[in-house]
Structure formats: C-alpha cells, structure tokens
C-alpha cells in the first residue's frame, strides 16, 4: 500500500468526520435556539404546507434572489444547479452496481461541471467589477471561489485532458465505505482534485457555506403567518410570565 493511498484514505475519513460532526453540531445549535417572535417576511404563507412550498421555491429556484438581482441569480443558479448535477454524476463512485437514474444522469453531469465553472466565474467577476460587492468581499470569499473553481477545473481536466483510471478510483472509494483501503492512482490532477474536495468538506461547517442548512432555519422564511390565530411563545419568554 503506497504512502499516498494511506494519506488520502486518512484525509477523507477526517474530512467526512469533520463535515458530518460539524454540520450536526451547527444544526443542533439552530434547532435548540428558539425563535421567540413571529417574524415571517410578509406576504407569507398562512399554512404549514404553504411554508413548505415557499422553502421549496427558495431551494429550487432561488426565488428571493431572483427578485433581488438577475445577474447574481443567473450565475448563482447556474453554479448550484451545475454542482447538483456533478454531485449526482459522482455518486457512481460510491455504489456498485450503479442505480439507473445515476447511470442516466452521467452525460448531464459533464454539462453541469461546465455550467458550474461558468457560474462561478460570473460570481467571481462581480466581486471585482461591482463596487458594492467589492466593498463587502473578504479574502475568504475569494478563497472559497478559488477552491470551487479549482475543483471544477481539475475535474473537467480529468474528463477532457488527462484521463485517470476511474475504475481504481471507484475501488478506492468503495473500499473506504467498507473500511478497506484500496490503492489510489497517483495522477497529479486526481490528487489535487481530491485534496481540494477534502478541504471543501473540512471548511464547510466553519464558513459561509452554512448558508445551506441556514436557509431551512431562517424564521423569515420558515414561519407560518398565523400569529393572531395561534399563540407563539418561546420557553425563555414563558419563564418571564411565570416570574410574575
């Protein structure tokens, strides 16, 4: 077993652990923290199913962003939808045999990869070209964009320029799932791609990537507009009442 294989196996176990544990801790924190007041941005749904529909529109179509800015919406949606297709395409590395839907999505995954990089480039350009966005951009915002673009380009590079032994790559990941370390091909582009993905997984729970779980916990989006019909009160606020 090569040293590199061991390092990468270890890296991915660590990255997966950090991602899952980090997200679990963050989500638990969001769940535990109460929303003491009814603050949906109105007009808001007046039923629970209406709220599910509102959140679904936000997740799938980025409805609020569409209202806010068409350029960010186009690039942002391109990137996220591309990433979604790419993720589906990559699921084949984690299953044997491959499910039919994943089989069918394979060619779209490639378009997704291209869309992802184009979308990211558009978003990144705005950070330089639009003075307002430039003003609020931190170094970390550039770094995350760089990381994602590099992941996309290294992935596309393996598809179109420097092919790697994907069968061995699949064996490696299937092995990890069974806690058996299988040899990983030592192609530089592959090693780079995987390293960057591991970094992304590790960074996720500590960065603005928390917007993904955050959306579902946003009181302005996930609350039902029914304050007159139903009394809403947090535990800590109830204690104020009992003190009297």
């Amino acid at each position: 077993m090569s040293f590199l294989t061991v390092v990468y196996a270890f890296l991915f176990y660590v990255a997966a652990a950090v991602l899952l544990a980090g997200l679990a801790i963050k989500i638990a924190q969001y769940v535990r923290t109460p929303a003491p007041l009814k603050i949906p941005t109105t007009p808001a749904p007046v039923t629970q199913s209406g709220v599910v529909f509102r959140l679904a529109r936000e997740v799938v179509f980025f409805e609020s962003l569409f209202k806010g800015n068409k350029w960010i919406w186009i690039f942002g949606w391109m990137f996220h939808f591309g990433l979604f297709l790419v993720t589906l395409r990559h699921l084949r590395y984690f299953m044997d045999p491959v499910w039919l839907p994943i089989e069918l999505v394979q060619p779209f995954g490639i378009y997704g990869g291209i869309a992802m990089v184009v979308g990211l480039a558009g978003l990144w350009a705005r950070r330089f070209l639009v003075d307002r966005v430039r003003y609020v951009t931190n170094k970390s915002d550039h770094l995350i964009l760089a990381l994602l673009v590099a992941i996309g380009l290294s992935g596309l590079g393996m598809k179109f320029l420097f092919h790697v032994d994907v069968v061995s790559v699949k064996d490696f990941f299937l092995g990890l799932l069974r806690f058996q370390v299988q040899p990983l091909p030592a192609d530089p582009l592959l090693l780079l791609h995987l390293l960057l993905v591991a970094i992304l997984m590790i960074v996720f729970p500590f960065s603005k990537l928390l917007h993904a779980p955050g959306l579902f916990f946003s009181p302005t989006r996930n609350q039902v507009d029914n304050p007159r019909e139903q009394r809403h009160i947090a535990d800590w606020a109830k204690r104020l009442e009992q003190q009297e």
Partner: protein
C-alpha cells in the same frame, strides 16, 4: 422649501443605484440617552467600565435566545443582492448603509469571538476585535437602519437586517449606550401612558374638542369616549393621533366609522399609545412591559374587542407579537381576530354595505398610497396573504374617485420606508431622514408629474410625521400627506347629517 445644512438629494425620473462613497454618513449619530432615560428601562446609566466583556456576554446571551440572530450571522454569503435595496444607501451612498455591510459591523465581532475561523484566521474572514472604534461605528450605523425589512425580501436566505440592528441596540443599551429618543419615549409610556406624555385630562380635553368640531361640522353627535368601562371595543392608537396633523383627522374618521357601525368603543388613558418602541431597541422585556399595558386596559375596561389605529410598527407589534407578549386573549370575543386593524374594521363595513360615502368630497385630491414598511413586510390584514396591500387600497377607492399607484417597484412588499421608522424620527437625525426619504419621494414625484397626483395617503404615524417634515426639503408641501381615515372622514355620510344647504 425647507432650509438644510446638508445637500438634499436631487430627485430623478429613473431610480439609479449610486456608486459607493465611503464615510458620507459616519458623522451621523443620535443623541445618547442620559442616565434618567436609561434607568427606568433597566439599563445602566452610562458606559460601563468593562463594556467589552459585558457586550460580548450580552451577545452570547442573544445568540442563545434568537435563532434569527444566530442563523443570520452565519448564513450570509456576501452575494450582493441586498446592496442596492436600502433607502439609506440609495439616499446617502455610504456603503456601510448597504444591508450586508451594516450586518458585517456585528458579524465581524461575532466571527472574532464566537467562531473558530475568526479566532484563528481573523484577517481571512474579516473578523475584528470589539474596540471602541467599532462600538462607535455600531452606534452610528445601527441608528441608520429603520428596521423596514426591505433587504429581507431580496435575500436568498431571508436575512433580516432589522433583527441584527435590534440586537445591536439591545447590546448597546446593556452597556449603557442607549439612544435618547427611543429610551426617553419608553420612559414616558411607563410614567404617563403614551409616547408624547399626554396625561389623561389633556386627552379628555382633546377628545371633547373633537366631539364639538364634528358636531359643528355635521350636526351629528359623534362620541370620542375615554376610559368608558363596558364599551365593546378598545381602540389603541398612536398618541400623535390626539393632536398632530394629519393624524388627528384620521382619529376623527375612526370615530365616525364606529358611530355609523353603531358599536360602543373607548380609548384608554392607561394604554393611550399603540406604538411600542421596545421593538426598536430590540428589548423583549421592554416591549412586553409596554404591551402588557394594553392587556391591563382591556381587562379593566371589560372590552370585547381590540382595534388598532393607523400606525406601522405598532401594527407589527400588534398583529405579529401581541398574542405572544400579552396574550392569550381568551377573555375577548372569539368571533373577531385580536387585534384588528381599523382598516380591516372599516373594510368589513364597506363590504357589508353599512357605510355611505360621498366620494366627491375628496375630489379636490388625486391620491396615491404609501405602503408603510412594517405593515407591508411584517404583518397582514384580512385573511389572505397580501391583504395588507389590498384592504387599505380598497378603503381609499371606496371613498375617493381619483387613485393611482406609484411605480410597482416601490410599493407593496417592495415599498420604501419613509426614512423615519425604527426609532429614527428625531430631529438630531434630520440629514439621515431627508436623504433616506429620497427613493419614496422620487416615486411620489413621478406620479405627481405623470398622473397629477396631489396627495399621498398613509396608515402610519411615523410616516405621516416624517413626510410632513421632509417633503418641504424636496420642494413639496407638508400637507400632501394624509391619513387614510381622514379621507374616510371627508366622504362618510353620517346618519342624520346636515346637508350642505343646511350648513350654509
């Protein structure tokens, strides 16, 4: 035209997004509360010695108590969607008035002390120590947010800057740096019962005067009762309605509507204020204390229903929070929502055909309607989403012949704040108020030119006071702003009313 010692923005035909000009409003800050304004609210009188430690402690406390704060400080990706949505940014060009930059003033402190990334890589993620300079910036820019929630409409995660600025003010109050305007007013509510400090006898006097005026005008004895036990409806209205123009014309209108409806009603001298400035300063405890006065008044006066007068932030607290803060309302008549908005009340009567109007009484006006921010984006009227837009317009159209809406991008959920909301309606922030009004006044100016609109109706005491004051800076007349129920009052035909000939 009102004189200004600052540059009044030029109105344009097409709204444009200005280039950023850092620091244009860094000098703006409201008067700081004195110890006598702070202490009745339970806050230290002046900046405490270990303020940084205390502020971070309070921030940690709020992070445990408000999911909104926790999620919103984490979730922002700096996409830029909100950057051109705040009326204060559009009017001042100061980039720190972009919602995301305003949030970042707190986010940088949050990251530094409450996140791993900020503790170990502060430069990378824009984390900063909580220094006196940062605190001064907080004081300045968290008092340049009117908590109008326009940014939250356009944020892909629904981040509401109002939640952040409320938390910031709550933290500052807890270390002794309060805002004089808000805190002095809350103190007046505790001491006297309303924001303006009008004592019971003065209210009784005013209401008696209104009864006489309406009688002289119409020959009908419309009553404006105060503290009348056993009345069916308790009316809670902003105290500006008791004397200021055009507010008081609205109050006259409410009375006429109640009269025609044939219901008994009363005001309360104890709860003689609809507004709840506890919300502006983000203090749940103070907001609750103010709201509890309405509960006590309802119990003491043995009323069956509660109706709120025209007031924006008040309606947010009433509609969205009153059940939480002062409920449950199981002792009131369950057939009616608690509370109801006066527009809902009037609308229902109009639907039932119970009110008669002579619309020509408003023919000297061509109207438009300003959706008040907190009614539009933080509350509802009626039983359907968006009723808060439809119902006031339906009322206006029932009593006026000439009505035109402003540009669709500036009304309903996209409405611009008047520029004076959220505890900023004070003379020490005049420059901010005038500049912040620009997007709304621009849209008004456009319908004045295109549709010959003469007046703008509103349902908020702050909007009315703000426009009365700032319209003259833009070369308009202060009386171009009117109450919705002032229009109702003009047009309503009271049973047994003298005809014009008899009056003449």
């Amino acid at each position: 035209m009102a004189k200004a010692n600052f540059e009044v923005p030029q109105l344009q035909q097409y709204a444009e997004v200005p280039a950023i000009e850092p620091g244009t409003m860094s000098h703006s800050k409201p008067f700081v509360a004195k110890p006598e304004h702070q202490e009745p609210l339970g806050f230290p009188g002046e900046l405490v010695e270990n303020w940084q430690e205390k502020a971070l402690e309070k921030m940690g406390d709020l992070l445990q108590r408000y999911r909104s704060l926790r999620v919103y400080l984490d979730a922002c990706v700096k996409c830029g969607s909100c950057t051109d949505k705040c009326h204060y940014y559009l009017g001042t060009r100061d980039p720190k008035n972009m919602p995301v930059a305003r949030q970042d003033l707190m986010r940088k402190v949050y990251r530094r002390y409450f996140t791993l990334a900020g503790k170990y890589f502060p430069k990378l993620v824009g984390a900063e120590d909580f220094t006196k300079e940062v605190l001064d910036e907080w004081y300045s820019y968290y008092h340049q947010c009117s908590q109008c929630r326009r940014c939250s409409v356009f944020c892909p995660y629904g981040i509401d800057t109002a939640e952040i600025s409320m938390a910031a003010r709550e933290i500052m109050d807890h270390i002794g740096i309060g805002q004089k305007y808000c805190n002095e007013i809350i103190g007046k509510v505790y001491k006297i019962g309303n924001n303006l400090g009008l004592p019971g006898p003065a209210l009784a006097d005013t209401l008696e005067g209104l009864e006489e005026d309406v009688f002289d005008d119409t020959g009908v004895r419309v009553r404006y009762p105060l503290d009348q036990e056993g009345a069916e409806i308790l009316l809670v209205t902003p105290s500006a309605d008791f004397f200021a123009e055009p507010h008081v014309d609205g109050l006259i209108g409410y009375g006429k509507v109640f009269h025609e409806a044939g219901v008994s009603w009363t005001l309360s001298s104890y709860a003689s204020e609809a507004a709840n400035f506890g919300m502006f300063i983000g203090s749940y405890e103070n907001m609750r204390r103010v709201a509890q006065r309405i509960r006590k008044a309802a119990i003491d006066l043995k009323v069956k229903r509660i109706v709120f007068g025209e007031c924006g932030h008040a309606w947010r607290v009433a509609y969205s929070f009153l059940n939480t803060l002062a409920g449950p309302w199981d002792f009131l008549d369950p057939r009616y929502p608690v509370p109801q908005h006066i527009c809902e009340f009037t609308y229902e009567l109009i639907q039932q055909g119970k009110l008669r109007f002579d619309k020509s009484q408003n023919d000297d006006k061509v109207l438009t309607f300003h959706d008040s921010c907190n009614v539009a984006r933080a509350s509802r009227m009626g039983s359907w989403p968006g009723g808060q837009f439809d119902i006031p317009r339906a009322v206006i159209k029932a009593v006026c012949n000439h009505f035109y809406d402003m540009d669709e991008e500036t009304i309903r959920e996209r409405t611009f704040c008047c520029g004076g909301g959220g505890g900023l309606l004070t003379d020490d922030l005049m420059e901010l108020r005038v500049k912040g009004a620009k997007p709304r006044v621009e849209a008004l100016n456009n319908v004045m030119r295109e549709k010959k609109v003469t007046h703008m109706a509103a349902i908020c005491a702050i909007c009315k006071s703000q426009f009365t004051k700032v319209l003259p800076y833009y070369g308009m007349e202060m009386d171009q702003i009117v109450s919705v129920h002032q229009l109702v009052s003009n047009a309503i035909i009271l049973t047994g009313q003298r005809t014009e000939d008899e009056a003449a």
